[in-house]
Symmetry: C3
Subunit: 265 residues, 3 copies
């Protein structure tokens, strides 16, 4: 059984995703295709980076993750594939070389990771791809061929992992005030996920401060009184800000980049 | 062939649903997974109850319906599975014990229905589940194991069907004015579905009154003049209020709970 | 392997699509089902026509495309199936006879296309279908039976291709000012797709004029400076208006039908 995940910023209304599914079905009829999400905000490479980084390790070994959030489509940005081995299992990624794999590459070394530039047009849908829809003409067909078992080394020229485009983020830092970080993602519930890793928070109970307000940690949303702001260790293993039964992002006016301090941890 | 349906309030933008798909694929690679909907309004157990109740009987025998609308995640609410036999076919449900199965349980008796509390951690993704994402760590893996044929009795301790959490609804009642009921659901078209069952409406033509207006029944949307308010027997087998080519909910300011009377039926 | 695509205006929130998936799974358990889109604006037959026309040829031979955008459901409009052979490959369509197949039929002749009216109730879900949900009771089950290999001629009475409902569109025309056309579709990014075919634009560089502004052609979005309006040949093979990193439709107030002129081509 082969499995392909799709992540794009195409939305669902236009048939672009459907067309990619058709292209995949022509090459890898028996592959299972899972829509990771198609609602990445248009051209938001940072949001796609976050979702990719936090989801791939839940999939079976050999899964091919096809990511098309690609503001530079048709320009000279590279199209790449990356194979990462984690705990003995390989995961494949097919994506533009624009930083979207930055989170995945956080654990990459020369020994557990290989990369290629997608230069072998044999595995494209057409030798004359559209200048605006590489999802259909390059990324989907290459992902389908990988899922069919085509050798990773055949799909393009090897490139150094250290040459791949990365994003620059400020990490959370420990200060005398506490751990200072920032919001890196806001989900559909309005939960705000910080860049403070769970493993830096060892106390059972702690406080979190942002936008001039300080509030208490709880184990889960429902443990706090209804409508109460809370900090918690989220399912992504980052410190998270939430409201029981509401949107923390709306309540506090949180955005990606808003500063946050965890105290007493 | 095994089949799993997923219903959540996770939306589509964040990758939460994709992660559940990955967890399922690791356990039940050959299962077909159908997204029933992921756009239940956040924490709206009543809407999920309506969709579950009106959709499950269209699926093949043995389907596992995994429902994660779970405002109480991480609190002491139970996680449950229910097996209901209808017309000789069993349907499985995996869900929090918060009333979301209330509509499904309307037909449940001790002889056609069994329930268990999901206490057997062997079938969880991890013995230390996240306090906020039981969809990933408990509900999805248990659903996948059931789809793989794991015995229902093995996944947890048997509990009495009569001990499951139910929701309290006022039923439609016959009065001298007509049948008095209320709106129980509003769909994406703005059609308002009442709690008045089709079988209580035996006349060929009848009237419906709500928000100070009275209008006529038609067989289908397109049978009414364009823009006309109408009553009809909807596809869910409930009395429904609609506008040909428009939104009845917007036009009349209808909400869940708005009173409705059917006359001349 | 059999493949069914679904396109509707049902949205994703209500379970209507899920129910169609259940009906299909009961008939064609092994079929792969691809959601082309369910977010066609309610009752917008023109938008569905555009998506169908631009997506079907990317799917494998034998694919069954089930389209339910059906404002006339329950009235006397016909339900139809069409088989079109392109480059030796047959594609099947199951849909209401309301013009939604107009774009697909642009290439249809008596020799490459057959049509039937869905009159054989053997292949419906029930001989007494709902007056409002033919997607569940007629279109989905007929599509599933076709995917299972049921003979096209068995599902209903043959009808003449020339008798099918078409839509009337003004085509783009060449004038002394340039090629005059109009917007036929606006996608999720706010890109506006005109009805001017790519093959009428042979110059390497050209200009496009709409809403009192004139701007330059580029090969792809990212080739233009950030925020710049541009014309380009889109992936659908129509002239398209876009903004690098923004929404052309919002910037210029474009709508379906807005006039556009391509000059210097």
């Amino acid at each position: 059984m082969s499995l392909i995940t799709l992540m794009t910023d195409f939305g669902r209304c236009d048939g672009y995703v459907g067309v990619m599914r058709g292209v995949i079905a022509k090459i890898a009829a028996a592959a299972t295709v899972v829509d990771l999400t198609h609602d990445i905000p248009p051209q938001n490479v940072g949001a796609a980076r976050f979702v990719a980084m936090n989801s791939y390790r839940y999939f079976p070994a050999g899964t091919v993750h096809c990511i098309v959030v690609d503001p530079g489509v048709g320009t000279r940005r590279r199209a790449i594939a990356v194979a990462v081995t984690v705990d003995g299992d390989v995961q494949f990624f097919v994506a533009p070389d624009n930083g979207v794999l930055d989170g995945v590459l956080a654990i990459a070394t020369d020994s557990n990771c290989r990369a290629v530039s997608l230069t072998n047009r044999t595995y494209w849908r057409t030798k004359e791809p559209s200048a605006t829809f590489h999802g259909r003409d390059i990324f989907a067909p290459v992902a389908a061929h990988l899922a069919q078992g085509v050798d990773f080394a055949l799909i393009g020229e090897a490139i150094s992992v250290s040459a791949l485009v990365r994003m620059s983020f400020r990490s959370a830092i420990a200060t005398s005030q506490g751990i200072c970080g920032s919001i890196q993602y806001i989900d559909r519930f309005g939960n705000a996920i910080t860049n403070i890793p769970a493993e830096q928070v060892t106390a059972r109970s702690w406080q979190i401060r942002t936008q001039g307000q300080t509030f208490q940690s709880y184990r889960s949303y429902g443990d706090a009184p209804s409508g109460r702001l809370l900090g918690l260790i989220g399912s992504h293993d980052w410190v998270e800000i939430a409201v029981n039964g509401g949107s923390a992002a709306k309540r506090l006016g949180l955005q990606v980049g808003t500063s946050v301090t965890v105290m007493g941890c």
